[in-house]
Structure formats: C-alpha cells, structure tokens
Symmetry: C2
Subunit: 386 residues, 2 copies
Amino acid sequence: MKFADRMEKIEPFYVMALLGRAKQLESEGVDVIHLEVGEPDFPSPSRVVKAGMEAMASGLTHYTPATGLPLLKNKIADFYLQRYGVQLDPYRVIVTPGSSGGLQALIALLVNPGENVLLTDPGYPCNRNFVTMYGGIVKSVAVSAKDQFQFSADTIRANWDNNTRAVLMASPSNPTGTVVSDEALIAIANTVASLEGTLIVDEIYHGLTYDQSLSTVLQYSDEAFAINSFSKYFGMTGWRIGWVIAPEVAVPGLEKLCQNMFLAPPTVAQYGAIAALEPEALVELEERRVEFKRRRDYLEPALRSIGFIIPASSEGAFYIYADISAFAADSYQFCIDLLEKTGVAITPGIDFGTINAKRYVRFAYTTSVPRLQDAVSRIEGFIATL
Amino acid sequence: MKFADRMEKIEPFYVMALLGRAKQLESEGVDVIHLEVGEPDFPSPSRVVKAGMEAMASGLTHYTPATGLPLLKNKIADFYLQRYGVQLDPYRVIVTPGSSGGLQALIALLVNPGENVLLTDPGYPCNRNFVTMYGGIVKSVAVSAKDQFQFSADTIRANWDNNTRAVLMASPSNPTGTVVSDEALIAIANTVASLEGTLIVDEIYHGLTYDQSLSTVLQYSDEAFAINSFSKYFGMTGWRIGWVIAPEVAVPGLEKLCQNMFLAPPTVAQYGAIAALEPEALVELEERRVEFKRRRDYLEPALRSIGFIIPASSEGAFYIYADISAFAADSYQFCIDLLEKTGVAITPGIDFGTINAKRYVRFAYTTSVPRLQDAVSRIEGFIATL
C-alpha cells in the first residue's frame, strides 16, 4: 500500500516507545515513577465532574453548534474580562476538541502549501506535523536560554522571509516551562504585524505559572490568535476540549472548518467546561497550582544539586528542561538506560526538535513531592554509575 | 488578514443558514418540524449513559492511548465477529473522535497533493472538503438512481485516471439512504484493487437498514478501510467517538497521525462505547431501528402520494432523497419557502453536491410518526400554493 509523502515527514512520539517499555516493566512488578507524562495527575475538579454527570443524566448528549454552546462562549469571554481585563465579543470564541483541534484549524485557515511557519526548537512536536500535514514548511528556529527558549522580536525578524506566513509560539512553553515577558510579547506582536504575518500564541499552560501571572496576547493585539485548553490548568485532559480566540474577520472561515472537521466539540465536555469556569472550581484549581509550585520548588534545585544543568528555570507549565551532556552524549539513550536501571521515566529532547535535542531531557513534575524525592534519589544513584 | 487559498474551495453547510432561520422562527413561537437534522432524536442508550457516568465518577478522565483503550478495541473486534463473522486483530482497530476524525486521518495518510479521490455526487459534503484541505483533488462522479445513487465497478473504472488514489463511498448513503449490494461491493473492491487504488467505505449507518442487513467491506477485502461511528446506530452523536478498521500495514501511520491530531479520543466516550457494544444496549438499539423503519414506511409513500418523486427508496440511514423539480426550479429556494410558510425544515440538495443538486432535497426521518404526519400535511398545503 502506498502512503502519502507527508507521512515520511511526520515523526512518531519517541516517548511512546519508552512508555511501552515502562508499562512492560510495571507488568513485571517494577515501580515506575512517571515524570514523562504531560498531564496533571489530579482528577478533574469535582464541580466539573458533577456538571458532566448532570449533563449526561439530563440527556444532553446530542450535537451542539459547531463552534460550541453559546453559554460556554459567554463564560469564556467573561473569564478573559475577569482574568486579563480584556473585553471580548463571545462571537470570537471558537470552542474546539482540545487545543489540538484549534491548532489544526488555524494552520488550515492560514497556511498555503509552500508557505512557512516559524516555530521554536525546542517546541511542541505536533505543531511541526500540523504545518507539514497541510503542505506548509516548518521553519525551526533555534531558541536558547538567553531568550528563555522563546522567540524574541529580533529572532523573528532575522528568520522571516518572503514565504513566512505566521509565527506559532507557546508561553509557558512545552518542553521548557519558560514564559515570554510582557515587553517581549508586545515587541513580537508589533514585529509580526509590521511584517504582515499572523501571530498565534498557544496559552494552554496559562494559569500554571509560579512567580507571576501572565498576560494574554489579546491584551496587545486584535489580530493575533490565542489558543487555549481545558486540559492542563483546568485538569480536563481526557475530555478533549479547548478554544481559540480569533480576530473577528477569521470567524466565518473557522466556522466552516469546524463544521467539517469536528461537526462539534464533545457535548458533555462543554458542560464540564462551563463548570470549570465557575468560582468554586477556580478555588480548587488554585490549590493545585500551589501544589505544582511546591513540586517545582523541590525538583528544580534537587536536579541541579545532583549535576543537571538547567539553563532556564521552569516558570510555568509543569516542565523542567535539563541539559544532560555532562552525563551522556545522547539523551534518548540516557532516558532508556535511566528507565531500565531505575524505573524513572522522562522524555528525551528529540521529541521536541532536532537542534541540541541530544543534550536535553524533559522532566514533568506531575507527581507528588515524595515520589519526586524517590526519583531524584534513584537518578543520583544512576548517575554515579556513569 | 490573508487566508489560505483552500478556504475558497471549502463550502459552508447551506442548511446552517436554514437552521439559523428555523431557530429564529422558533424563538418567535413558530412550531418548527425538524426534518433537516442528521441525528437520531433518541437519547443515548441508558446503559451507555450509565457507563459514562460511572467512568466520570471513578475519575477516568485522563488521556487514553492515542488510538483508544485496548478493551474497546477488543470489543469492537468481537462485534465484527458476532455481526459479520469477520475475525479481526484488535490491532487493526483505530478509535477516533467521531468518524470525522477517521476520515481526515485517512485522507492525510493516503492522498498526496494533486492526487484525486473519487466521490459520489450526491454524497457527504465533508468528504469533499477533507480531500481539498490536504491538497487533493475531488473527482465528483454523478451517480444515479439506476445504480442506487452508488458507485458501481463500471463507474469507478470509467472515472479512474493516472492520478486517482482512492475511492471513498458510503453505504448506506447520506443523503440518499441507499445501499450497495454485496455483489456490487465485491466488484468494486476487486476493481479498486486491480487499479492499485485504495477503497474506503463509510459504514457509519450500518445497523440502520430496514429490508436487509449489510455486509462490511472487510468481508471481501483485507486492503480496504472501513469507517464507522458510535453516533448514528449507537445514538452517541455528542460523545464524538468512532473508529476505523485499517489494513495492518497502515496501522503505524495512523497511530502517528492520531497521536498528533487528537492525542486521544474522549475518554468517557470510550467507556460509553464499550457499554454500547454490550447485548443489553444492542437490544435497546434494535427497538430504535424498528421505530426508524416505521417512520420510513410511513414517510416515503406519504411523500410520493403528495407528488414527490423518490427515484431510489430509502433502504437505510434515516434519509429520503426526493426530486422536487415538479414543484420548483431551485431546491434551496424551495427549502427556504417551505420553512417560512410551514415551519418544516428540510435540507437542500446543494449541501450534497452540485450535479442535479437543485432538483433534490433530503428528508431526515429523525422525528416521530405523528410529527411526520403533521409535516406531510403542512407540505401538502404548501405545494398546493405553488
């Protein structure tokens, strides 16, 4: 059977092979500590679960409008007013099946075959593949600790060419947990606008920051797209629900795409999401944020103390991006060996790009402090054998 | 803002404008009879709702594997054995967010830019747009009542060219409710194989047939892809859950695509789907099938008796495709006038293709017989005024 050429350019998640091996080890009785999973370990907030169950019990399991329930759109618009002071027409809210759905719809909306999109390396791997799937060209830009592993207006200008259509960036970033300052974000928005391109900011880890609260790009631009999700901060990964805030002019096109691609986002998840935006759920989520901070405050110095180099501190999400070049030449092999010898699972840099990928690994602090302590002690023992 | 060229080729659903107007009329107190909606009016089976609620209460709201829970894959494979006598390796089961997800993944997997896909006109509108989105060429083939508005081996051979990559067909068909006979399906599978193309059969309305039970293409081919869904027969539209049965060689590629495009299908929907395949739910679904048959048995002769020409009887799904050229020159205008004057909403042919689209409308018998009777009497009155 003949497959499309694009398939050769789409890489699998390397961590899946590790996960498969981790499961096998677990089935053999090994106690695996999972620091590879980009998913909160908490259950969904109790109010959210209750709302989802009520929706189901009430028979609310039919299709909704393609871009989401009007009530959910209103609640999301309210949320922007409360959290960021941004007044938003609910018409601009496009509810999607996870941010995955939103990211694909935006690439389909904006990028012609042969046009390129600037992406950070390291960065979220699916973004490269979405651009490739629609015939676009991925222009991976090496970002470094000097810029918090984020774009700056300068790097964007330096990498822009006649075929550049858009910049897609994430703050906080996966895999580095770093954020873009307001000053840098404003400069980036202005630069992309002056280059007549489109700025897409993935804000799915907003709410999960530990030293500051972040601005949304919507505070500084009416032309940018903001992508968000109920998965991470709101603890609703398996519900598959997210959203895009689009410039008004882009809404009809996105509506057409959502009608075709999704028919509608999952209905019960939308009712859960409405509850997630209520004050009671937000209180529960704030407690979890504090717990993530506690973990970060433990894990980052602990890793440093056993020899990991962390060139940019984790300011958000639940990720630490660490340089292992002092221990090994290839971080993928390092991850495999670490899992085999200690039962600690982490993600190799190669899942997030190619530039310097062999030097780095990603730690997800999505497990409790005692488990993190256990992991650090196992890792310390492992390193001593290298 | 500049949008990608593909956006000009993607048509909105024309019925959405009608739906918008229908909602407005309802808000003004008009009793609208909805015969435009491609969605069962029944709630999800009680066992399914119960299983979904239990999953939620148990905290099963995290990500699952990208192509679905192993238990669900096993259950789907069992279902093929029970219903069709087909022995299936569960490895070949790819669980997707609705059949929408599966259809997109298959086009991404198979079709290069510039290659074409044979589609029936009339047919499901999103399929045209999925091909377009990935740079493929839609080759719409006029199908007629002589062939039950379905492909035949002859029409496929006549329309095949050097750039044809695949045939995508649906049995039962949306919008015609017609099915492909076993004999025709075998001939089609053999023809596509001999042309070294790929056959994709959308079987999402399987289970909803009224005069016969259908074979799956998997009984006749190991190289074809079968697409299915829990939306229609299983009554789970808003849950957004479907599946693809793929040839073994295609599974690794589909896994890569699903990891990127969806991360995973909605978790609670997967637990609901497991319950939908249990004998108790299947009993409930069989009762509904009988009810759909009752509606078809009423509506089709009733429409004929008031002057509609139905060139191919509805054998499955819940659709009747009717020729209105005796009443009006443009079926879209006919639908608008019908809605305005009588409150009966139906779907214009233009949503399903361009060839002869102005002659046809689609009726969905997704409402009770008394409501259908009311609709027929209103339509009869309307026709008398033309």
